[in-house]
Amino acid sequence: MKRLALILCLLAAPVLAVEPSEMLADPVLEARAQALDQELRCVKCQSEAIASSNAAWAADARVLVRELIADGKSDAEVMDFFVDRYGEYVRMRPAARGAGLVLWIAAPLMLLGGIGIAALTLRRRRAAPEVAALSADEQAHLDELLDS
């Protein structure tokens, strides 16, 4: 399950605003650049990655990503370059530390909590007598039926 989640998380629907003039000639490097475009926020836009934004800032950022890649920087180095300048805000995938850590562990914790509560309720329910007693209304109705 964990591995599956990891594989699934490597995929984000590519949505590209990159202009042909910005693109790298080498398709392997360009593919890396496009993957990075998905991870970087356009800081001048409203919740958009630089990959999909038509804003001038995003276009400049895309060119910068490609320049850094052409210089032989690794993906992590490119991310660090942007985070150093624009802060954690620039990451579309928040880092799993500090406040971000709470975000990442919230879902698994909630799932465990949900399963725990469900299991507890079920166990209590099973401990209860199999046949529920009649309610007062039902008892009255039953008496009425028996009397008639």
């Binding site: 919740s47 954690e88 805000y89 971000g100 990442w104 879902a107 079920l122």
Partner: protein, 657 residues
């Protein structure tokens, strides 16, 4: 004149809503039948008045009455008639008027069709509906009045945002609102039940159709919005995990959970307090959604109304209604006693698992949406939570849901033997693994997402077929067919909706994993290969004129071998009044793939930027959603749901579930 009448009707509707909120509630408490009965005429009258008010606003838009502030800000005489009408709700004030119109419609429906409800319950439900009406009508009248006049009317209007000038605007918001606001009925039933201190099978039966209706409208609304984004925004994306999209997705997930847990209440009288809590949360998330959209607190591409005063007002509504209902819940939930007992392996347990998964998935979307706000308020950190987070954190829940779905749908209530269910489902399991493996080998070396989704889709649909096969029973083909035809429509609805879920799941995965795109500068006459297709840019015309726009239009031919597959004419439009460009993608729709072509700006060295996307199985995403909604509609048309509440279940030739 009409405008003033409309305004006056709105004020009257507010007064009537006040009466509707108080009188029937007091009547129900004291047991005064006359007071209780006020709710029905009040709900009908409120609807008629708001409808009149809405008609007056529409009249102002259609006749381009620029003395009205919102008409001047959102319309133009050159705008096509369809967009003059849809422009009524293409802005903050008008869309809220549509919101209360639909709210009043639901309240009135409860009055018209609620004849079978016990008097007290109906009175309380109508009261709660009335109270929601009071809050939102006050919000409109005091902070967002659509009937505000301008002192000096302009000569012409400022035109509607060009992105909104599309048939999508005609259908997407009304359906979405029917869903959002429809959940107010589940909420009202939940609050009424808490006041009454009683939730039983009958309550489950009454609340289900309303929830089902709201959920199916929400499904259609979200699907339309996603499809609209796909063709209109020119990126070919179908879901962006934008805060506003999330705002509609959270109530969808919670109402899907509610839909399933209400079945347990109706059939087995268990999960009562949980179901009531879900009903409160579902509408709570609708209100949160309204707050997010209307206040612009989490700025996003959808925020066309940013105003702190309005934000505070909606926040107050949110706190009063959700908070109030939750307090009531805390005080009264213990009065709701579960009756049905069940073993660990049972339909009940499977539906609990469904609820845990859907609710946690909803929570993931919620925390991802509000986290940037929380981090900024609590730690003064500016964070972004984008699609990479949601893809990673949300997807596993949908995978798990699809895994348990066929088992849960098949096993009996109360006590099940898993081995037996396992043996029945073996064919579906084998088919799923075989298809998954086949897809895996065919695509060689690409992501595992698509094969997994294909296997899950086959597993889910296969499980549904197995269930129908079992329900058909033994005997010759004719007997089986007769039995199948005799199944309650709710059972068919379940099969159809589950299949729709599988189709959407597969569509999303296949599109994400297999799409290919090509971005390049093309000169007129250029030809190039994209995937299996030969793309030719035949011509570009730079002087195309529409009613309120000018455009650059390209003619593109796509061939496969010698055969012409599609001739497409993508446009890049410019709306001079709004001063905004839009991209009009040209799409050749197909069952197995969409061909999606976008023309961009002219380049410095001549030629045009041309984007060609091949999008496999794109239409399956929305087709699946529509099939889900159809399943909901089928279920809704079941006699059990249509019949006035309180009617006894009729005996059938086939065992009911």
């Amino acid at each position: 004149m009409y405008t003033e009448l409309g305004h006056f009707c709105l004020i009257l509707a507010f007064c009537i809503a006040c009466v509707q909120a108080v009188i029937p509630l007091v009547g129900a408490q004291k047991g005064w039948p006359v007071w209780m009965r006020i709710g029905e005429p009040a709900a009908s009258m409120q609807f008629i008045l708001i409808a009149a008010s809405f008609a007056a606003l529409t009249h102002a838009f259609v006749t381009s009455d620029f003395s009205l502030a919102i008409v001047a800000a959102n319309s133009h005489t050159a705008k096509p008639m369809l967009y003059k009408v849809t422009g009524v709700w293409g802005n903050h004030e008008g869309s809220l008027l549509l919101w209360v119109l639909i709210l009043a419609l639901f309240g009135a429906s409860a009055a018209w069709f609620g004849g079978g409800l016990p008097d007290r319950l109906r009175a309380r439900v109508l009261s709660v509906q009335g109270a929601i009406g009071v809050a939102f009508l006050a919000f409109i009248l005091w902070t967002s009045n659509p009937f505000e006049r301008l002192e000096i009317p302009p000569f012409n209007g400022q035109d509607l945002n060009p992105l909104l000038q599309d048939v999508g605007l005609a259908f997407h918001p009304p359906f979405l609102y029917l869903g959002y606001v429809g959940l107010s009925m589940s909420f009202s039933f939940a609050v009424a039940a808490l006041i009454e201190g009683r939730v039983d099978a009958a309550w489950g039966r009454w609340v289900r159709p309303w929830t089902l209706a709201a959920w199916l409208f929400l499904t259609v609304g979200i699907a339309l919005g996603s499809w609209w984004a796909y063709y209109e925004l020119g990126w070919g994306g179908f879901w962006f995990w934008d805060p506003v999209e999330n705002a509609s997705f959270m109530p969808w997930l919670i109402s899907a959970a509610l839909l399933h847990s209400a079945i347990v209440v109706e059939k087995r009288e268990a999960l009562k307090s949980w179901t009531v809590l879900l009903a409160i949360l579902a509408f709570g998330f609708s209100l949160i959604g309204t707050f997010i959209v209307r206040s612009g607190v989490l700025t996003s591409v959808h925020a066309f109304a940013n105003d702190p005063e309005r934000g505070m007002f909606i926040l107050a509504i949110l706190v009063v209604f959700t908070g109030g209902a939750l307090v009531l819940y805390a005080l009264r939930a213990h009065a709701l006693q579960a009756k049905g007992v069940f073993a660990l392996a049972s339909r009940e347990t499977a539906l609990i698992a469904n609820n845990v998964l859907l609710a946690v998935a909803g929570f993931v979307v919620f925390i991802g949406t509000v986290w940037p706000l929380v981090a900024e308020l609590a730690w003064d950190q500016k964070l972004s939570v984008g699609p990479p987070f949601f893809d990673a954190a949300f997807t596993p829940f949908m995978v798990a849901l699809a895994l348990i779905l066929p088992v849960g749908a098949l096993i009996p209530w109360k006590r099940a033997r898993l081995g037996r269910a396992g043996r029945s489902l073996l064919p579906a399991l084998i088919a799923a693994i075989a298809i998954g493996a086949l897809v895996w080998t065919m695509q060689s070396g690409r992501s595992i997402l698509a094969p997994v989704a294909a296997a899950l889709a086959v597993w889910t649909i296969g499980g549904t077929l197995v269930e129908l096969w079992i329900r058909a029973g033994k005997g010759v083909a004719a007997t089986k067919l007769r039995r199948l035809a005799g199944l309650p429509r709710a059972d068919w609805g379940k099969a159809v909706a589950h299949s729709g879920f599988a189709i959407t799941l597969f569509g999303v995965a296949a599109l994400t994993a297999w799409q290919t795109e090509d971005i390049r500068v093309a000169q007129v006459g250029d030809s190039f290969e994209v995937g299996a297709y030969q793309v030719t840019l035949d011509a570009v015309r730079e002087d195309v004129r529409g009613p309120n726009w000018t455009a650059t239009e390209a003619d593109v031919t796509l061939r496969r071998g010698e055969r012409v597959v599609a001739q497409l004419s993508p446009e890049k439009r410019f709306y001079p009044v709004a001063g905004m460009p839009t991209t009009e993608a040209a799409i050749a729709n197909g069952v197995f793939r969409d061909l999606y072509v976008v023309v961009g700006d002219p380049q410095e060295g001549g030629g045009f930027a041309l984007r060609t996307h091949i999008k496999p199985f794109a239409n399956w995403i929305w087709a699946g959603a529509i099939i889900m909604a159809l399943g909901g509609a089928l279920s809704l048309s079941d006699r059990r749901h249509r019949i006035a509440a309180g009617a006894r279940k009729t005996q059938r030739a086939v065992p009911a579930e």
